[in-house]
Amino acid sequence: MKGQMDYYAINALREKHAGWALLRAQNAPLALHFFMSAFTDPNQRNVGRQQLIDVLDDVLFGVRETYGEEKFPRNASEYLDDWAASERAWLRKYYVQGEDEPHYDLTPAAEDVVRWVESLKGREFVATQSRLTSIFAVLKTLVQQSETDPDVRWAELQQQRNQIDAEMHRIREGDLKVMTAPEALDHFQQLTTLAKDLLSDFREVEQNFRKLDRQVREQIATWDGSQGELLDSIFANQQDIGSSLQGRTFQGFWDYLMSPQLRRELNDLLHRATRIEALARMDNLHTITNLHQDWLPAVEQTQATVRQLSQQMRRLLDDKVFLENKRIMQLIRSIEANALDQRDQPPSNFAMEIEASSVDVALPFERPLYEPGSRVMVMDDVVTADDQDLDASALFSQFHVDRERLKSNIESVLEEENQATLADITAAHPLSQGLAEIVAYYQLAAESDWASINPETTQRLHWTLEDGSVRAAVIDQIIFVRPA
């Protein structure tokens, strides 16, 4: 399907292809080493940013020991950002639902390079016989399953049966042919390669879906005619993701993998493979036995991508949205033009209104009732704990606890949460003035309508003194609630 490669096509690849760029990059060894340790060796996808930085730090630490800091002067996060930037596109950066930390995956182009570089190292011995066997097997399936003449198929099956009969006969006679150790290793290697190929196929398929998705989006965005015509054109071109060639092939594979009978068979075979004597010394035997555990998440992820893309596409094509989007774009352009025009005299007494997203109910009884001040007491066991070298003057010396700072600490935590205990707040903003600060928090809580002190439960708060020793206080639980 793809055109012939000529000088120009190859040159274009050399100029534009992300994988080729990676090979030419100055820091390719660093990048590739990192990609291998973070993604391909442990067979991981969707890795969080912090985890990647940790891996990269390890890699950097190793090479800097040998070459010194100057060779790789930037820090891990800078390298990471660089490699994920759109002009490199060696890593794909994205945000997953429910998590604020960006996630990364290797792009198919980068993965190809990793695998190519790995292949340069060469193998212990080259798989030959097993390759030949699989070529035969594939060829046989292709020819036999495409045969339309029933007589020919019948004859072929008959021949197979004869062969099986003959072999059964040989076994009965005691002539048992067992695979030699080199043969077993050869097959094992072939199997590992195939399994890796399959995993990299998934990555590729997912990327192709994204490409397809982008094409359709471009078409929608630049479409001038009516919406009906647009839909016709999209479906006529079979660009609907699910029904594309990619989509159907993938679905077929998924159905195959999900068939219970097949999975049972696969499990059984893998299990038996681990007990083959000739392979017992292979240290990467487990990679093959984990094969199906690697497949399932990979396939599921691709499946999820397709589902998500299709769903969004449907939303985009929804007629109300389609028309409204056009109208909205027009309005926004007009507003932008007007605003630009008046850039130097922006309207000052100008107010738009927008409805709040919550209902304004403030019941008087919702506020906590007044709590007697006697509750505001620090429990004694604070002072009893090892007070020889406790600097009590800290309590009495007139140093100032900035109540505004404490208030803003509380507010900043409540920005994220509806309510927070004092322990939550001091976890986010560690105590720096010790007991005096706790007392100030206590006061704030006692005065606030939106805080309550719960004597039923206690909490332990820690702070570090200047000399590095840690102090703790046990106090009633204080709960701050976000003002409605």
Partner: protein, 196 residues
């Protein structure tokens, strides 16, 4: 999990309604409430209708919230407050809406994430050329804070200066709202040229 009779019994109704009173319910973060809401949609609708409120529920975007019913005579007291927005904040909302629209049409990602730098670049064109850049930046961060308060931007945890544009923005900054903004802006412009 729940039997049919349980889900259809309005026992869960108070929980859902109070949650909606408190703010937008997202499928992603309030999964349990969301499920009961889908099962009890008509109950909730009827209930809030008594208070002059409409339930807006967008299943494909995954959010639900309450909105005041159209009240042309203005006879009902407002249960849902209206927030006054300055020109700057309004403009910021418009630009965010545009970004979201472009994002949806161009990419297959679900979450639009913007850094403070990107927000600044987006707005900068529309700010008067002033010698005091610091003051303008201050104003911008106040505006961003305001939009965070309104719930249309959300600070990402652990990533400083990075925000997620809430998809709910689409429901509030809709064609009608933009039309009004556009009309007012045009009026203002006319009044300027008229008085000169």
């Amino acid at each position: 999990m729940n039997t049919a009779s349980e889900t259809s019994s309005p026992e869960e109704l108070p929980g859902i309604v109070t949650k909606l009173f408190k703010g937008v319910v997202y499928a992603e973060t309030d999964e349990k409430v969301w499920q009961s809401l889908l099962a009890l949609t008509s109950h909730v609708r009827d209930y809030v209708a008594v208070l002059g409120l409409n339930l807006i529920l967008d299943e494909s975007e995954g959010y639900a919230f309450l909105r005041s019913r159209e009240d042309p005579e203005g006879t009902l007291p407002r249960l849902i407050p209206r927030r006054q927005l300055t020109f700057d904040v309004s403009l910021l909302l418009v630009l965010l809406r545009k970004r979201l629209l472009e994002f949806d049409t161009n990419s297959s990602e679900l979450r639009l994430i913007m850094t403070e730098e990107e927000l600044k670049d987006m707005v900068a064109v529309f700010l008067p050329e002033s010698s005091n850049e610091a003051r303008i930046l201050d104003r911008l961060s106040t505006n961003i804070k305001k939009v965070v308060e309104l719930g249309f931007l959300r600070k990402l945890r652990g990533e400083t200066g990075t925000y997620e544009v809430a998809r709910i923005l689409k429901a509030y900054v809709d064609a009608q709202w933009l039309e009004e903004f556009d009309a007012r802006l045009a009026d203002y412009r006319e009044s300027l040229t008229g008085s000169k």
